[in-house]
């Protein structure tokens, strides 16, 4: 009786690692593989690395559900990550970054069109060694994302690597914008798509997300009023109300190779402003550099505009007080005359 119980307990205590050990009998051998179409294809999975991954606590057959007996001689079906990572799943698979949205992305479209280079889940997340984006050794860790995307998007990475965002990231500012902050993680859409975070209207929201964040901007030593000032400017108002050709953030600042105004290569460097403004305003010359950009009239930093604003504020108030007082007097006079006439 006690022997039976011990066996049962032992059976229940069998963890995934001891269950997976049976798979690793074959798949744990480095030279394990098959020859397919005359090519050797490795079927090796490093047990060490798999166990260190975020899925290490699961058994192989939890994903490879069609493997029932060992050894299996048929190729298991390709598995979908969405079988766990769907919204409302009960196994606790995280969906914070909306993996389901991948199906709308340019990547999914290219993949469906038969492009063999189009990335799928495992291209970025790896197949068996998936790690949390919080894990510094993960390919999807913030600091590693530029290299991850750059492995395909070489030209974009080159431009980005010159930017202030990348420089900050290299200097340990983890909050600095990486690819996914603007392009989204999974629903990467072209800027021409109105749903995209990079559409003309979307790009303002996308930049504002970080550049209106007081704490983050304080750390980066970047002024925080820019998005508010922009949305109050005519460019911002026009864009917000259907004039797509109005200048948005990237029209002046560029996108991948964003640099501060102090940098001579920046499109917003005073020397380069005539050219930058000239993209839309053909008569722009060095005059456009003569004055501040992104000003909030009610703040002292706006310079002369602040004084104009203040003058009009008090002037309007004074005029209105006078007008209302005169009207009140006129009405009271009318009422008194009417009252005394009736007497």
């Amino acid at each position: 009786m006690t022997a039976l119980l011990t066996i049962l307990l032992a059976l229940f205590q069998l963890g995934p690692s001891s269950q997976n050990a049976r798979c690793f009998l074959c798949h744990g051998k480095k030279d394990f593989g098959v020859v397919e179409n005359g090519k050797f294809q490795s079927l090796y999975v490093s047990p060490k690395q798999f166990e260190a991954s975020i899925h290490g606590k699961f058994t192989c057959v939890q994903c490879h559900t069609d493997v029932k007996v060992i050894p299996h001689f048929i190729r298991p079906e390709k598995i979908s990550c969405l079988q766990c990572h769907f919204e409302g799943n009960t196994v606790g698979a995280p969906v914070k970054y909306l993996p389901e949205m991948y199906k709308y992305s340019v990547h999914a479209k290219a993949s469906a069109a038969g492009n063999p280079n189009a990335p799928t889940c495992e291209t970025c997340h790896t197949t068996h060694y998936v790690r949390s984006p919080k894990d510094t050794s993960s390919g999807t860790y913030r600091k590693n994302i530029p290299q991850l995307c750059g492995s395909c998007h070489k030209k974009e990475f080159e431009a980005y690597s010159k930017s202030i965002h990348y420089r900050a990231l290299e200097n340990g500012m983890l909050g600095a914008a990486v690819c996914t902050d603007c392009h989204q993680e999974h629903d990467v859409l072209p800027p021409s798509d109105p749903r995209s975070a990079l559409s003309a209207e979307g790009v303002v929201r996308t930049c504002t997300k970080c550049h209106a964040d007081t704490l983050l901007m304080e750390k980066a030593d970047v002024p925080v009023q820019q998005p508010e000032a922009y949305s109050e400017s005519f460019h911002g108002i026009a864009l917000e109300n259907g004039m797509v050709r109005a200048a948005n953030c990237t029209s002046c600042h560029g996108h991948h190779d964003i640099l501060p105004a102090s940098d001579p290569n920046s499109p917003i460097n005073p020397k380069n402003l005539p050219k930058t403004c000239g993209k839309c305003h053909p008569h722009a010359d060095k005059n456009v550099a003569d004055g501040k950009v992104h000003i909030i009239p009610s703040e002292r930093s706006a310079g002369i505009v602040f004084f104009v604003y203040t003058f009009f504020k008090w002037f309007t108030l004074a005029v209105l007080i006078f007008l209302f007082a005169h009207i009140a007097l006129d009405l009271s006079g009318f009422i008194r005359r009417k009252y005394s006439r009736h007497e």
Binding site: N287, G291, A302, F312, T316, V319, D330, L331
Partner: protein, 297 residues
């Protein structure tokens, strides 16, 4: 009618009887009744004439009490109409830009078809405003009535006296309402507020409208000032119109619901005597010597 007719017949009878008594003559019945009829007819006609005359006199008196003067000529009225239409278009299409965060502005842009449409309308209103400003400058320089009106619109020390007198009158400290000329200080204030507003709005508006042209001429901060001034003065002008102008010509209980003079050009003698007594007196003194001059010819 028959009752008064009977009275007249009685009177005629009595008159004939008295004459016959005094003269001591007898008349045959036929002549007497013919004479009576004639007399009755004459008296009746006389009474009717008198009555008609009286009615005519009363009617004339009433008419003179409702006598109208021409206060604003057609030119003057059309200027105001153009200005009013322009300003309404400008306010309706301009305020949503200033208050672009509000729901009303969002609904407005949605309904009108985006800021591209409202911007076009705003520039249409601006064109009206520019046209009326040029028109008005020509009016006050080239026409006699225009020059005369402009001269009377210039502020004088009397306006300050009128203002103080009016305050006293409104407070009940004085029984005497200030005696205004052609334009009261209230009307002058309205006029000069528009004058100042037009100069500011048209200047700043042109810089913003033709930004490409001005970019090569003025530095960037001038655009910032123009933007701020255009927005702030628009607010001030709108409030002045809604509060001050609307009170004076619409909501003031003396003129409610509105004073039609600026559209019809007519002002009643009664209102003229009350609101512009000095102008009335001046008009009378001007027309009287003319009549005297005409007489000797």
């Amino acid at each position: 009618m028959s009752d008064s007719n009977g009275k007249i017949v009685d009177t005629a009878d009595k008159m004939i009887g008295q004459v016959l008594k005094e003269e001591k003559v007898e008349l045959d019945e036929e002549f007497k009744s013919a004479l009576k009829d004639e007399l009755v007819e004459k008296i009746r006609r006389h009474v009717e004439d008198k009555r008609r005359e009286e009615e005519e006199r009363i009617r004339k008196e009433e008419k003179s009490r409702k006598e109208y003067f021409l206060r604003f000529g057609l030119n003057f009225r059309l200027q105001h109409l153009t200005l009013a239409i322009g300003v309404i278009i400008l306010i309706v299409t301009g305020l949503p830009i200033k208050f672009h965060d509000t729901l009303v502005a969002k609904i407005f842009f949605e309904m009108i078809g985006g800021i591209g449409v409202s911007r076009f309308l705003h520039r249409l209103g601006a064109t009206l405003l520019i046209i009326v400003s040029i028109w008005h400058v020509l009016f006050i320089t080239t026409t006699k009535t225009g020059r005369n009106d402009f001269r009377q619109l210039l502020p004088t020390p009397k306006d300050l006296k009128d203002f103080i007198q009016n305050i006293k009158y409104l407070l009940g400290m004085s029984k005497q309402k200030p005696r205004y000329g052609r334009f009261s200080y209230i009307e002058k204030f309205d006029y000069w507020a528009v004058y100042w507003g037009m100069v500011i709005m048209i200047c700043s508006g042109l810089i913003l409208w033709f930004n490409n042209f001005f970019l090569g001429i003025v530095p960037k901060f001038v655009f910032d000032i123009a933007t701020e001034v255009h927005s702030d003065e628009a607010m001030l002008a709108t409030l002045a119109i809604v509060v001050w102008h609307w009170y004076n010509v619409h909501f003031n209980p003396e003129v409610f619901p509105f004073n039609p003079t600026i559209f019809t050009g007519k002002i009643s003698k009664e209102k003229m005597l009350k609101d512009h007594p000095l102008e009335y007196e001046k008009m009378l003194s001007k027309s009287e010597p003319k009549q005297k001059k005409d007489k000797p010819r």
